[in-house]
Structures are given as structure tokens and as C-alpha cells.
């Protein structure tokens, strides 16, 4: 059940993201990229397998049974990906504003298509 829910969530986020990415307005593109990066983050997280009620951190002292713990590596990867995604989205927003200011339009090509 969990698998279906999370797969559907990733699918919906990805499809909305791709659709928005292909839209002609810069703001839609920025939101599309954000949705896509949420989907990707969830996907990375799932690649460590879905486990419920298990911790990723081994208690100090003594060898632990790996089967009783979640995989911590994808969680670390997600953290890195979130931080990088944050930074690049912020940079993209600055460029969007600059493009809006310089070209006077929010079309991705910097000019309105002929009507």
C-alpha cells in the first residue's frame, strides 16, 4: 500500500513538473523545476527501500543487525540534493527577475510570440 501511495505521489509531482516545465512563462518553469526536484528527492529517498518504524542510526556499542535499520545513505543524499536544489532555485529566480526587467516580458524566449 505504501509503495502505491509513494509511487503515485512521485508520479503526480513529476508529471505536473514536466508539464509546467514546458509552459512558456518563466514563473511556471521555476515552479515546474521545484516540483520536479521534490519528486526527485522522494525518489532518492525510496531508493533506500521503504521501511516503517526503523531508525537509520545504530546505537553505540556492539555490532547491529543491518536488517533492523533503515539505509542512512539515501537520507544523506537527499539532504545534499535539497540544499543544492534550494541554491539553484534561488539563483534561477534572480535570473527570472533580471530577464523580466531587461526584456519586459515573462516569456521564456524574452519576447511575446506573434499573436
Amino acid at each position: 500500500m505504501n509503495e502505491v501511495v509513494i509511487a503515485a505521489a512521485i508520479g503526480v509531482l513529476t508529471s505536473s513538473g514536466v508539464w509546467l516545465l514546458l509552459r512558456p512563462r518563466t514563473f511556471q518553469v521555476a515552479i515546474g523545476l521545484s516540483l520536479l526536484s521534490y519528486a526527485v528527492n522522494l525518489f532518492i529517498f525510496c531508493m533506500g527501500r521503504l521501511r516503517i518504524g526503523v531508525a537509520p542510526i545504530v546505537a553505540p556499542g556492539g555490532a547491529a543487525d543491518p536488517a533492523a535499520f533503515a539505509d542512512p545513505l539515501p537520507q544523506a543524499l537527499v539532504l545534499t540534493a535539497i540544499v543544492i536544489g534550494f541554491a539553484t532555485t534561488a539563483l534561477l529566480l534572480v535570473v527570472l527577475l533580471a530577464a523580466r526587467g531587461l526584456t519586459g516580458t515573462d516569456h521564456v524566449d524574452g519576447q511575446e510570440p506573434p499573436a
Binding site: 523545476l33 520536479l36 531508493m47 545513505l73 541554491a87 539553484t88 521564456v108
Partner: protein, 523 residues
Amino acid sequence: MTIADQLVVVPIVLPLVAGAATLLIDERRLAAKAAVSIVSTLALVAAAIALVALVDASGTRVCHVGDWPAPFGIALVADRLSAAMVLLGSTLGLACLVFGLARWQREGPRFHALVHFLLMGVNGALLTGDLFNLFVFFEVLLAASYGLALHGSGTLRVRAGLHYIVVNLAASLLFLIGASLMYGATGTLNLADLAVRVAAVPAGDRWLVESAAAILGVAFLTKAGMWPLCFWLPGAYASASAPAGALFAILTKVGVYVVLRIWLLLFAGSSGPSPGFGSTWITFGGMATIAFATLGVVASQNLARLASYSVLVSSGTLLAVITAQSAAVTSAALYYLVASTLAGAALFLLIELADRGRAAGADVLAVTAEAFAADAAPLDENDEAGVAIPATMALLGSSFVGCTLMLAGLPPLAGFVAKFALLDALLRTTPIPGAAWAMLVLLLVSGLAVIVGMGRAGVRRFWASPDVAVPRVRVIEMVPVAFLLALCAAMTIEAAPVLRYLGDAAAGLHAPRNYIDDVLSPR
């Protein structure tokens, strides 16, 4: 791990420190910034030379960061290829920084810091032996390249920069999907460990590994500029400032390098579980890139676009041959990679000097005039004496001829040696596959197109317009161009040792067992 292994970290840490240091210096104290920047880049080049010498003398060096053993920690690996690429990138960085001293460092904020962070990202991506770490370094170099693409600002740059950023962000997301899928399928991110484990993946899960590799491939090939993933490239490179455009010449090559490294580790050889996976796509994609870029070279109205398409020609040529499964072809391809990167960067720098003080749209007007045979300027009597070409123009013109010879692959410069070695190696396999013949035709036709395109642009720029003001060029701007071209000449004269080194590098790449043992064995 010995002290010598620590040298592998230097090309990453040095630009990081230098970039941070130039950020701390006030924007108005450009002399101080420039001093820090040039000294550290000189040190970087020295470190890269030391690394090449070390690796050539004593084989692959591995640095386990934090002394965590592979495959658990991140390993930085310098083999002959990555050391040579680091040297190439650092040399370009030095040339671009010196070029920027004259004018571009004043055109926008934090030029020096951006160049250093770009170099850090490039060196990191070349040296890392870990898939996710590769993603991080790609992001570092991309973030810095976004800044450099916009350096100098202006509508044209922001518009092209927007496309560049969005395409690369989307490609980075694909990279993440591919990397995590690879982890999900094999349970490791270390490239050497990956090569071992991919071979052991059960047949039922092979599709997971293959789709992960395919998704990663799309991300890398976008960076490398393979058709049809390359439409962002000419606009972004042509509108970037000259030193940024010259530095970007190495970025597509980093994409090619990553494809070469990962493909040879995971799918080369005929014994592996999915031998030659994706090689058809890469080969024919590379050929399509050459064809597309050849048309672009001939069709380009201005020099900067022409230079961007010539970058695409070289990247297509490399992609078309790197999956040929032959060490001889790979070594020729590596020689071509170095030669074409140096020449491409020199061309980007040169164009800005030649086009300086020229009205925008002059090229389009010239073409229109040609098309309508409207030689408006009537010949007056003075013309019979000929036009005196000023020294600056003569210098620029002869450098332009040098770049043309390099990029078109005409003797006597290194471009010819590279293309000759490439064709020779391709035609040595018996029976000669049809793809090799197609490649031969494409390579020769693209060379011809480069001569036609650059010859036309050069004639129009240097000979046919005597009334245009001579550009003001400072010595410090001419030195990097001359330096890069001198390196090309040196590569021609000393072709034997260079080809010997690159031949060893290629042999190392085609024996992935050694790389795997070097990384995974505890020292």
C-alpha cells in the same frame, strides 16, 4: 595513503581557498584580487604539472578523503587521464584570468571568485571516484558557470543564460534520478565498486542498471552537447563574455570525459553482462552532432556563434569515437580533445578582440551585401596601392589563421596530427566497419566546413573592411591567445611524448581492472 597521495586534493582545495579569498577582498581593490588570483592559479598549474609527473612516474594515485576506506568514503582518484585533464583545465583557467585582467574583471562583480569556483568544480568532477560526489562537483561547476555566463549582464546574455540554466537544472535532476537508481540497484556509489557490482547484478535486475545508466547518459550527454540535447549551447556560449566562453570550452569536454570514464568502467569489454550497452546511441549521436554542428559552422553569421559550433564539432567527434573499444582510437581521441580545447578557447578570446569596436549586426549586413552583389563602395584610385594592414590586425589575423588550422585539422599544427591519428586508428581495424567510413567522411567534411566558415569570416573581418577602426588591444590580452596557440604548436613539435602519455592513459582506461584494484585495495 602517503603524503604524495595528498597532492590529489590540491587541485580542488586550492581554487576553493583562492575563490573564497577573492570574495573577501573588497570589489574596489581589483589589484589585490588579481594578485591573489593569478598567484593561486599559477600554483594550481604547478600542482597539476606535479600531479601529471607523479602519476606518469608511479601510476594511479588514490586519496581516501578523511581516511575512510573505499567504497565507504569518497575516493579521489588521479590517473593519467584525469591528471592531464586537470592540467588542461588549469591552463585554460590561467589564460582566461590573465585575459580578464585587462577588461572583463571590471565588467561585473566577482569575476575572479567565479572563475576559481568553476575550476574547483571542473577539477573535482575530473578527480572524484564517486558518483554522487560527481553530482556535487557538477553542481559546483554549473553554479559558477551560471554566474560566468551572465557576467557582464545585458539582455542577450540574460536571455541565453536563462535557457542555459533551465536546461542544466533539468539535466541535473536526471543525474540525481540516475545516480539514486544506480544506488538502488547495486548498493554502491563508488565508481570502482560499481564496476565490480554491476557485473554481479542478477539478470532479472539488469534493466534497472541499464535504465540508470541510460538516464545518467542523458544527463552527461546534455553537458557534452550531443545532438539533439545541444540546442542551448550555441546561444549560451556565443553570448557569454570572452573569458567565460573560452573556459566553457572545457565544460563540454568534462561531459565527454565522464561518459568515457563511466562507460569504459561499466560496459566496455566483450565479457561483461551488458557489453557495449548504449555504444550505438553514443556513436551515432556523436555523428549526428558533427553533421548538425557542420551545418551550424557554415550557416553562422557571426564569429562567436561559429566558435560555439566548432566546440560542438569537436564534442561530436569525440563522442562518435570513444565507444570504439580500441585503445589506439581512444588515445588519438584524447590528443584531439586536448588540441581542440586549446584551439577553441584561443578562438573565443581572439574573437572578442577582433570584434571589438565593431557595430552590432555588421556581419549580417556584410552577408546581405554579398547576397545582393551590392559592392556599394566604389573602388577609388587609392585602393590600387593596397591597404596597409596595421600591426594589431596582422597579429590578430595570424592568430586567427592558427586557430583555423587547428580546428579544421590542417597541417602543420596539432589539429592535423590529431585528426590523422584518429583516422589512422579508426581505419586500422579489419574489416573496417561501415561506421568508420561514415566517420571518415564526416570528419573530412566537417574540416572543410570549418575552413569555409572561418575563411569567409576571416576574409570579411581582416581583409575586406579597411575602413573599420583597428581594435584597441592590450598586450595582456594578446598574451593568453599567443600562449594557447604556442601550446598547440608545442603539442605538434612534441607530439611523440604527448601521444605516448595519452596512449598510456588510454591503455589504463581500457584495462579497468587496474583502476578498480587501485581504488579498492587498502594501501
